[in-house]
Point group: C2
C-alpha cells in the first residue's frame, strides 16, 4: 500500500512516501507508519504524492519530532509547519 | 489574506478557509488563525483550497479539539485524521 524512503541529513530526516495503489480513507485504519522512535532527535520533512488526509495522518504521527515540514515541489524546499525547536520556526523554508 | 467561515453542527465545526491572494510560506509567520477556545468541545473539519503546508498549520492548530478531519471533495465527506474521541476514529468518513 505505502512505502517510505528516508534520507537522513544532519538536522532532519527527509521522508518520502510512495503509494502503490489508490488509497481510500478506510485504509488509514491499517496503514503502516514509520517507527517514530527513530525520528525523535531531528526534524522531519514529509514528501510524496497523496491526499491531504494522508498528509494529515503523517503530520500528526511525526508531531513528537523536533519539527515537521512538508515538501513544496514548487520551491524545492520544505516548509516548517510545527516546531519544538528554537532553530526552526513555522514558515521557514528548508532548501534541499 | 485568509478568511474563515465556520458552520456549527452538533458534533463538529466545519471550518472553511478562503485565500484572497497567493500565500507564501513566510505568510505562515503572521497568518490569522481561528480562536481555538471556541473549538475545544467538538471536532473540526477543515476545508478550502490551499497548499498542504497551510493545511499542516491548521491541522496542528486544531490538534486540541475532539478530532480533526479534512474535507475530501471527491467523497463530499470529512476524513478523520486524528482524534481524542472514542466516537470518531482515524479513517472515519463524516458525510456532509
Amino acid at each position: 500500500m505505502i512505502k517510505y524512503q528516508t534520507t537522513t541529513y544532519p538536522n532532519w530526516n527527509f521522508v518520502e512516501f510512495e503509494l502503490d495503489a489508490n488509497i481510500e480513507p478506510a485504509d488509514l485504519k491499517t496503514i503502516e507508519l514509520p517507527d517514530i522512535k527513530k525520528f525523535y532527535n531531528k526534524g522531519v520533512i514529509i514528501s510524496g504524492r497523496g491526499p491531504i488526509w494522508l498528509y494529515g495522518v503523517l503530520i500528526h504521527h511525526f508531531h513528537p519530532t523536533r519539527f515537521v515540514a512538508t515538501f513544496e515541489p514548487r520551491l524545492n524546499a520544505g516548509v516548517v509547519i510545527e516546531t519544538h525547536s528554537a532553530d526552526f520556526q513555522v514558515g521557514d523554508l528548508i532548501n534541499l
